[in-house]
């Protein structure tokens, strides 16, 4: 059974790594320090702001030398780092929920300017109602804008992904921004043992940011982002799309090199497979929702039920062929969205609709069930997991996809 993201066995881990008990946000801050960040901007909103608190402390303690700018709003936060990046600085910022939405104009203009910013979205429900709990709609709003978009699950993955993100984004073949999605509270605030590599190893893996002939500098007097109207817009969009396409190769290369350098990391960058090898029912969900699902799956496996989990990491670019191949063997697929798309086809979540789109041309199209669960940070219970699985087994038996989207754990 494929259990892929396990902690490396003792002895396989490089001995000079440090072990730290830290939260997902602190793991991100460790990675940023190792990446020798130059400019960072902060603005408070829960839960992402914990990463900024961790960075502030590192700067205060002299562990990281970077320009640390507390901005007056998210719009400015993202514009400040965008411009710092254009003169050649390695930058970081982030936000959560409606704060991420407040920056939306700046998020929109970043990919066509080919600014390889790395940002964190501490996933949070959108207002109103004001809520601090996790939902994925905030990050999903950049889905169609040219951002690379990845969901992480553990503090270790947060650290590793942050290092990978700079390597991938700053590759001249890509040169696009990355949003790293981390579930609010469940990941940003929860502590776990994390292997922190040495700076020497990181330097080996992550070359300095080189903006090359796009650098804004008096020695390179270029005009950036002129006004194009109907001329050239389609060509610019096409170039963005080609950069996104090139990201497939760059991501695979980066993960391979990561494994070589650090002795850990997934074989398959795109998604985690948990007990899927012989699974009749494959459940799918992004981020920390994997935890209750893995527990439920272990319990069901003990009863002989053949069920597994696929946890997508990269959402943009979307690993269509690999995902379709991984789903071909299943008799039913259950997609659990921690997001919503009101009025979408079958009222499904964003991920479910994406998987349906990916499967349309597949040779085999197992029944696909759409579930919406855990919105606003609502606890996802084992009962929810069992209910979803039971419905999937029913569909496997009948061979038909029920069109209705099921909302799990809702007070009716």
């Amino acid at each position: 059974m494929a259990v892929e993201t396990k902690t490396p066995a003792p002895g396989t881990m490089a001995t000079d790594d440090r072990e730290m008990l830290i939260s997902g946000s602190e793991a991100c801050a460790e990675a940023l320090t190792l990446a020798d960040l130059d400019v960072v901007t902060a603005y408070p909103i829960r839960p992402y702001d914990t990463v900024m608190q961790a960075i502030a402390k590192k700067i205060a303690n002299g562990q990281l030398e970077a320009e640390y700018i507390v901005a007056e709003g998210e719009h400015s936060q993202f514009e400040i780092v965008k411009h710092a990046s254009t003169v050649g600085a390695r930058v970081f910022c982030g936000s959560s929920g409606v704060g991420w939405m407040y920056a939306m104009e700046c998020l929109t203009v970043t990919p066509p300017l080919r600014v390889p910013m790395v940002c964190m979205v501490g996933n949070r429900a959108l207002d109103d109602p004001g809520a601090f709990g996790v939902e994925h709609n905030d990050a999903l709003t950049v889905r169609d804008l040219g951002w690379l978009l990845i969901w992480v699950d553990t503090a270790q993955e947060m650290l590793d992904t942050t290092l990978l993100a700079y390597r991938i984004a700053e590759d001249r073949r890509v040169f696009l921004p990355i949003a790293i999605s981390a579930d609010g509270a469940f990941l940003t605030h929860s502590q776990a043992i994390v292997q922190v590599p040495t700076r020497a190893k990181v330097d080996k893996f992550l070359p300095p940011y080189n903006r090359g002939d796009l650098q804004l500098h008096p020695d390179n007097p270029i005009t950036v982002a002129p006004q194009a109207n109907e001329d050239w817009v389609i060509e610019i969009r096409r170039q963005n799309n080609e950069a996104m396409n090139r990201a497939y190769t760059v991501i695979e290369e980066a993960y391979a090199d990561f494994r070589k350098t650090f002795g850990r990391g997934p074989e398959n960058p795109w998604f985690e497979e948990y007990m899927t090898e012989d699974a009749e029912v494959i459940l799918m969900g992004m981020g920390t929702i994997s935890l209750p699902f893995k527990v439920g799956i272990r319990n069901m496996r003990a009863k002989g039920m053949k069920v597994g989990l696929i946890r997508p990491r990269w959402f943009r670019p979307f690993p269509t062929e690999k995902m379709v191949a991984a789903l071909q063997g299943a008799k039913a697929i259950g997609v659990i969205d921690r997001d919503y798309s009101f009025g979408s086809p079958f009222g499904s979540g964003v991920v479910a609709n994406e998987i349906r789109a990916a499967m349309y041309n597949a040779d085999k199209r197992p029944p696909l069930l759409s579930f919406i669960c855990g919105l606003g940070g609502r606890e996802v219970t084992l009962e929810d997991v069992y209910k979803a699985t039971d419905l999937c087994f029913e569909a496997a038996k009948s061979g038909k996809s029920p069109l209705k989207t099921q909302w799990l754990g809702v007070r009716e």
């Binding site: 514009e79 300095p208 006004q227 194009a228 001329d231």
Partner: protein, 335 residues
């Protein structure tokens, strides 16, 4: 060694007279601004004053759209577009990026001028918050220049927070029932920013009708260091509706009528200068009607409107704490 330049600026001595102004241009042909466009002149003089070791950032507005239509650029120095409300953030981010790279030895250390410009829409309205924030970050050197043509001149002449009282714009057209749609008084942007950011070392107002003076203010702002702000009043033939040959004359009239006073706040000291200084020292102001009636945007004004406008300008000169600058009045004794 890198630390030496951490907050160093280029020292740009003032041009002593028009004959001493340098020949080199850093904003040249390739733009598509209207005939008589004062703002294009402001761009040209601004970067001429700053010199070649300069990065210019332009917020959305007519000086973006008309200047850098793709395949052409008048900018000889590096130039980049920023969002309508982001001139402050662009200046701050660029300055911070340069500083970080120089401090950490990742870039050759030298003082590089960072100038971000915005129109009155981007500066007095949408981008005010970001400009305000940038003016509090005293460790980063930059200049924000607001070219104020008193409307959203790029999008069809809509009123902004900087449009004068009563002006005819596409958002405030005079009609059969309501003669005046826009009855708000123009924002006092430069003084507001100077008063509210006590560590900002330089805020000034300029008008390109007085070109050498204007360039010297830019040079002073860039040399003094930290974040600085300049407010330029730019007559706009299209938005103000006048013969393009009158641009300079209208700029002069705005100053001579006392509508747009020229002053600077340098390290907390207010100085009036040029024609404005003469007014403060007793030279009579020209009546505002001379200024207003040369512009089509005030053609619907009645005598009553002209009187109201004149009374407001008089108040600014006769009753303000600092004439034409700070609108507070001292409380009468005993009250």
């Amino acid at each position: 060694m890198a630390e030496v330049f951490a907050n160093a600026t280029q020292i740009l001595e003032p041009f002593r007279g028009v004959k001493k102004v340098t020949i080199e241009e850093y904003f040249t042909s390739g733009h598509r601004t209207c005939q008589g466009c004062e703002s294009a002149l402001v761009m040209k003089l601004m970067v001429k004053a700053a010199g070649p070791r300069t990065i210019v950032l332009g917020a959305t507005g007519c000086m973006y759209v008309a200047n850098t239509t793709y395949y052409t650029t008048p900018w000889v120095v590096p130039w980049m577009h920023t969002q309508l409300g982001s001139s402050g953030s662009a200046a701050l981010g660029t300055a911070a990026g340069l500083k970080a790279l120089m401090k950490k030895g990742k870039m050759k250390s030298e003082p590089i001028n960072v100038i971000a410009f915005c129109g009155d829409g981007g500066g007095a309205d949408m981008g005010l918050g970001a400009i305000s924030a940038t003016l509090t970050h005293k460790e980063y050197n930059s200049l924000i220049l607001m070219y104020d043509n008193e409307s959203y001149a790029n999008t069809d002449i809509q009123l902004s927070g900087s449009t004068p009282y009563g002006a005819n714009t596409t958002f405030s057209p005079p009609g059969k029932v309501r003669r005046l749609i826009h009855t708000r008084w123009k924002k006092n942007t430069a003084a507001m920013l100077a008063a509210g950011h006590t560590e900002c070392r330089y805020v000034g107002t300029v008008c390109a009708s007085y070109a050498v003076e204007m360039m010297n203010k830019v040079r002073k702002a860039l040399s003094i260091g930290g974040p600085t702000f300049i407010h330029s009043l730019d007559p706009c033939p299209k938005g103000w509706d006048y013969d393009p040959m009158l641009s300079h004359e209208l700029g002069e009239l705005a100053v001579e009528c006392g509508v747009f006073p020229l002053y600077e706040v340098e390290d907390g000291v207010v100085r009036h200068y040029g024609k404005t200084k003469a007014i403060v020292e007793g030279r009579p102001r020209k009546p505002v009607r001379e200024y207003l009636l040369k512009q089509g945007r005030f053609a619907h004004f009645t005598e009553e409107d002209l009187e109201y406008f004149q009374a407001k300008v008089d108040e600014m000169w006769n009753e303000w704490e600092i004439p034409g600058v700070i609108p507070f009045k001292k409380a009468p004794a005993g009250k």
